[in-house]
Symmetry: D2
Subunit: 340 residues, 4 copies
């Protein structure tokens, strides 16, 4: 349905061109000064793809409706809304509308029978605004526990992020040809304690994979060496344990990506997340089917991004923060004895 998490619960709502979108965040600790600037920065980053230090927030103005008193969290649900200022008039003719290839038009139609055709309705990536708000709250709690989350571009169109010039050229070339490119985000979670995650049904790796796969346009997730490990020899994947100077058990390498047996081992958690190219190809006329089941063609116009990255990084970080906080709040087996 529309709720992420069991112990830290984020419910998002809203259609792209409805009255508002937003979220209800249930499970924030009480008495914490809420950093609303951090929420604004995360929304900025989602909107522009840049680290969002700017103060301009002429769009995506959010309003906190509940759960805060005198600037502090109450431990009660924090409801936040963002008005859709550019909500268009209802001048659509959905009955006649065609299914856009590689969008969710057809599958939503198959599931719901009745959909909001304005800008993709709830299937629009605009839904992730609610996740980014909630993620910024979760990240603040994590930060207090020394956990930091960062996502960055790893590849775009198959070109490594370090090769900035080539990437810009590739994107420009795709755009000039009316085409789009995909990319890969690299996610890093630092400061994790060891022992977080449930080892069978709620593995931390499984929870993170589900969180990433729930982001629009994501088609693949890997942890640590991921798919590369499938073609590697076991002897080249060994993460030897040793005792660090601070007395902690550490590994010398991190092929495992910070998770072993579904539980964090205290090393950096590393994921790679594959985004497909944006499905909207400007100025192309494609054969398709309409909602009455008749063959037709469609030309998806408008100005669109050529690559979902780097704007999607804010969503990757938000989903990671929500997931990690949920895992931290899960009941811990509270060992009564320990051999260490």
């Amino acid at each position: 349905m529309n709720t992420f998490g069991t112990y830290f619960r984020v419910t998002t709502f809203g259609e792209s061109h409805g009255a508002a979108i937003g979220c209800v965040v249930d499970g924030m600790p009480a008495g914490m000064v809420l950093d609303t600037e951090a929420i604004a920065r995360a929304l900025d980053r989602r909107r522009t793809g840049r680290p969002g230090t700017s103060q301009r927030r002429e769009t995506d103005e959010f309003e906190i409706l509940s759960g805060i008193y005198q600037g502090r969290t109450l431990g009660t649900p924090v409801a936040v809304i963002v008005r859709n200022t550019d909500a268009r008039p209802e001048d659509y003719a959905p009955a006649a509308e065609a299914f856009r290839p590689n969008h969710a038009d057809y599958t939503w139609h198959a599931r719901y029978g009745f959909t909001d055709p304005r800008g993709g309705g709830r299937a629009s990536a605009r839904e992730t605004v609610g996740r980014v708000i909630a993620g910024a709250m979760a990240a603040q709690v994590l930060h207090q526990r020394g956990i930091t989350i960062n996502a960055q571009v790893d590849e775009i169109g198959g070109i490594p992020a370090a090769d900035t010039d080539t990437i810009e050229k590739a994107i420009a070339a795709a755009r000039s040809e009316g085409d789009t490119v995909g990319g890969i985000a690299a996610l890093s979670i630092k400061g994790m304690p060891a022992g977080i995650g449930s080892p069978v049904a709620d593995k931390l790796s499984a929870a993170l994979a589900a969180a990433m796969m729930s982001i629009p346009a994501v088609k693949g997730v890997e942890i640590g060496d991921g798919f590369d490990s499938a073609s590697a020899r076991g002897s080249l994947q060994i993460d030897e344990f040793y005792i660090a100077d601070d007395g902690r058990v550490r590994t010398r390498t991190n092929h495992s990506g910070g998770i072993q047996g579904g539980i964090s081992n205290g090393e950096e958690i590393t994921l790679r997340v594959a985004f497909k190219p944006i499905a909207t190809l400007p100025r192309r006329t494609l054969p398709t089917v309409d909602r009455r089941g008749r063959p037709t063609t469609i030309c998806m116009g408008g100005r669109h991004d050529s690559c979902v990255l780097p704007r999607a990084l804010a969503v990757v970080e938000a989903m990671a923060a929500i997931t990690i906080l949920d895992a931290l709040l899960a009941p811990h087996p509270e060992p009564l004895i320990s051999y260490l």
Copy 2:
């Protein structure tokens, strides 16, 4: 914790060398003749890696304790157990035992403080016996609805499955060198109706990714074109819609892997699942740390597999069946009107 699913719930229990392992399956429809031979075949396949047509089941004898009357399901929980016949005596000295690199020994220790050291305890892949039993039940329900699930080897050690000879040589070479190899499983789900999956928080793609990532040794999951799509142009990823002869909306290609916007589109669902090499490297002495936090060395002996595939295929299929049935049983928005 230890329960998979919300609407079709599978709880597994048991340690590798405890009295028994098993599962409780809650949510089976009532009145269905349960095919116990299908359960036996799935367990055989998990045990031997072969399709399991043989009748021999001298090990992994399962006993159904509840939920069945006169061979039919009652709609009540089906509890099934498998006795651990080779349960070893408790001749371990856990306090002194060293953490095996790349196993879950350390993370379990960090989480629980007290663990069963015999053969990995609950972290052993033997836990998946319960999943395979439950998956075989789920698959039977799916079969009645025309849905079939199949997993096969896609690659081993980087070599495509079609190249059987080379794979056998690669495994033999690794084994002779005291090494192991990883591999990739290809999962196919056919016969899915369109409209299954929840589009935001419980995307079918997210649920399948979590299910696969919950399998021991899995480090990556991709759907449809997956990571390849991240380096491809959008124009090469288009799945055009058309009206098939039977009147259904179909796509001409299947780059999406049968899921669009988190919801099934009625095409074949295709996943690739990456397994790391088995972590136990026979006859190698490795530096590590023991449970008292002292440096030590470890030599993991015993006869072990050199590659988790093809035995893991039965687990991939089981987790897919459990996940798909859970999605099918989720409340459907029941469209009251439809334009199609």
Copy 3:
């Protein structure tokens, strides 16, 4: 936390004097014309205790933010908010404030450490506005399936509802003495099909009891003959089965209150719900403790109701509707064979 239901999920949010209160309703069927007048009538009834046929809604104006397009449900979350127009300035001194006896001040303090002191914050019965909105939506779905829910006053201050004059006098007498009275609501659910409810852990009786007990001021719930059955002979409690003219299996009496073994039997479901007297006793000075743990006294002033009934009836109906719809949407064991 703050979500009711598993299959039909209602999350409420908001503090009594915060910016707004409201709810997110997840699980409405798609394509249904939403009757917003019915929501307004339910809110009116909650506000005035009367059936609410009037059109005046100068307060409790609700705004639907999502989940509706062209007046129809989308099957996506319906977020609804009500602004708190009389939100008072933050002129409280919570550190010095005393715990009001029989209110939730102390227990909230013990749980959260930091609370909104304005009008009880989230512990205020104003929180139920969100439930009433959600309940009115659920009731509309139920109505389409022929299920109707009605709550009425059964007793006030120990006086049967039929004795209207005496009740009015008793309330007036209590008020003039600066006192309050409790009461009992009688809930009736008609039109239920047989076979709804899960027989062990999610009994329909248990779900209804939890729903009622979650209403502020409720201290007791009984189903059918309830506590009276505990002192009765079994022979006087028999609900004989017979075949009705329409071919349905019916019972001649309804001591069971429409639920047997936790599952509906198709008869009217009857509950009685006990409300304690309102805890705010005007103009009385009582000894208590403040938030610093010092003895003090408190005098709860202001104009307050003398009895929570009949205004609470709207909340009883709302919680019943939410609970019944949740049970209806739960996966059904789908009998494949039947002897009937």
Copy 4:
């Protein structure tokens, strides 16, 4: 379905005359010495209605299959089974069988279509064996935290428990007339910390009410003054706060029954639970309907109890323990600041 709890999860399985009944307990802390004698005593009490100091356990022998190593909990699921030694041969003719009035025969038939007719199948009170085992485990954890749970007979057939002689006569009279009586259990939970329970959707009072109402034959639940409070004046219900010698905030009286606003206040939690008379009336021939929908008569023979109390006390205690531990393990808002 068949799982109680969210944070401490108990799944029961089994039919009255199937191979076995039992439970899977997920969420026990790790490293705890499990007191199996306490489980045996609880089962004895359920079986005989007496405190169970005896060592005889010739029936209800339980076997622990998992989750324990060297006598200590592993934090993994504890599966426990009890074989049904008196499982009868399948010599029933369910198609012809009649619905027993006031039992769950008809409602199960309506829900499942196919049921186990032997002794009520899963609807039998024998299902509670699994709950009692799990409850004994939960009680052990609670005991370590200073929380004790006790249920006793409050009334039988309308006669107060103190009047032992009259109760025995009333039961004997009912039995001699082929009749049965109901009763009320009084539940006491001592040692609770303040601040446990979620104030809106998962009120501790609501969770306890649901737990009690899920016990077979329960038709009513009240907390503190319960239904009596509905006819009382508010001024007579005040629980004044004061500072106890140990510095804790206490109340001088306990009309609230230890729960205010859904959260524990640190006082004794008191509930009363109403059980209807046993539905099986020996040697009476009653009109009813059979599974083919034809009028018939039924005579329920066999030796049965005349009153479900005091045997049900063990189940009341078990459900209370499971519920309280679940509430204790729920994420706590962790106040960062406090005025106290």
